[in-house]
Symmetry: C2
Subunit: 305 residues, 2 copies
Amino acid sequence: MMGRVTRERVGAELVAVVTAVVAGRPVVLTAEGGQHLPFGPLRTEHHSMQAGLQTWVEQQTGHRLGYVEQLYTFADPDRASAAGRVVSISYLGLTNAVGDRPSDAWRDWYAFFPWEDQRVGSAGPGLVTEVIEPRLGAWVEAAPPAEREARRLRADVCFGLGGRGWSPELVLQRYELLYEAALIPEAPSATPDRLVPGERMAGDHRRILSTGLARLRAKIQYHPVVFELMPESFTLGQLQVTVEALAGQALHKQNFRRLVTQQDLVEPTGETHAETGGRPARMYRFRRAVLDERQVAGTKLPRTR
Amino acid sequence: MMGRVTRERVGAELVAVVTAVVAGRPVVLTAEGGQHLPFGPLRTEHHSMQAGLQTWVEQQTGHRLGYVEQLYTFADPDRASAAGRVVSISYLGLTNAVGDRPSDAWRDWYAFFPWEDQRVGSAGPGLVTEVIEPRLGAWVEAAPPAEREARRLRADVCFGLGGRGWSPELVLQRYELLYEAALIPEAPSATPDRLVPGERMAGDHRRILSTGLARLRAKIQYHPVVFELMPESFTLGQLQVTVEALAGQALHKQNFRRLVTQQDLVEPTGETHAETGGRPARMYRFRRAVLDERQVAGTKLPRTR
DNA sequence: TCAAAAGTGTTATCCTTACACCCATGT
DNA sequence: ACATGGGTGTAAGGATAACACTTTTGA
């Protein structure tokens, strides 16, 4: 019986969250004046979805993506109209070759999510305490009493309120919370005077972008993907700046270095780099062999017997 | 220019890897005599993909899925024929309500992946040392010299050879390695006399299933998803048996108990359970509140400053 | 009384965190 | 000389892994 239904057809779209880090700023590749992520339809001539994606991105940036992984597949219900349904298959791409084709298509992540940059001196910390926390407080109070505590807990966990720590990887949860609280313009009941700052994108592309940031921030903690964003050789300081840019958080210098060196993730090239001020730094390169040696991260379960 | 292309259309299929654990055996819901995973086309009347999936699964099992998460989206190139391309959006579903409709549609995971069960007394350990290891050895030797070491490393990491430990979460990597080594029937150049035991499924469903196992084994380590497979109340022994069934590995009893209790994942119900032989065990229930409290797992990066 | 499973306690080890300090360069 | 960033050492605390042992039931 299952095979007898008429098979309906949908449009399949490939969407790319391509990111890089330039001078301590995480950037994402956009199209059409920063309103879109790069995207294009899956074509019959594409051998695979990744190949199709590579084609679209190459046409816009002129270079191959070093690293690509699938993010998530969305079926936007708003677009299930007479024209038919559209399914968006999104990918995360990482690259370090921003300079090849200078372009203003590379936009700072934090233009779209200002609250996500929690480094000191950035917009994030002030934005949370002065704008987001009070408005979420109002949203909590506006709930029926039975639901109030659940809302408060959710706000506290997402934004590190009430003495909780800030968790960089909760990007998507924060975006969805702001959406539900009608504090961002995508929300149906949003009112202009209560919005939280941050540029929006066409359709659900800001949501897809937030999925990409969340994945990258989570993955960086247990898989050596940062190196896809680095040049061939780099200093440990540059590496740390890159990780901090992605995490939106400052890291402890000495421990960061030990973490990287003790795990044998890098090897010295023998050269040094004359930095602005201070002692010249040793240059390192990523030991690509670790990708083969360590398929595995580390278990949380007690092993044998 | 991007908007001007004629949008080609594809078939969108929803595929479910629904698993449960019954009497220490992990099982997966199949259709049509165990050859398929349950699947069905995405319809216009489905409000969302998850809703569509729930519909298909409910029709076959009669109960709702407690937990659903998206797995991966595949575009099988072999099926991009005259009939057009098909995109399969796969989901992982967890349930504990197997008993509602008795059915032989629940098949043991390890019928499809016998090598994945590494518990003592199971087929796995012998299969690896007596069949897989020698045949992979031949595959290594058959490579051109320059490629030989890479193949050996890969085989060693995947199957815990050469003194390495077995990593339960490498399910997909092992499947793909066996595929490339032509040791499973899906492989184009496979020959019947060199195959590794294990039932196959239609199309790429065995591959999708292996993606599901991999995700579940990985996720169980940092997120309390096991409880979706447990009844309302259970003993710590039953919980351990369930985790062991999924991991395909025995766990250390005392440390497992401590891990569960010290993290406040469970609370005692006050009742006890008279087991077969031995002292009666306390019953516990999952503290669902932890899902709200702990959105976060734990960072691998040194935090402040 | 013994087998079987539940449950408790203790110790060695490793990893994370934090702190203190020295080194090499430009100005 | 001193500011700046690079680089090293070490000690405290917590989590994990491994060990030995007691308790409570059914047969």
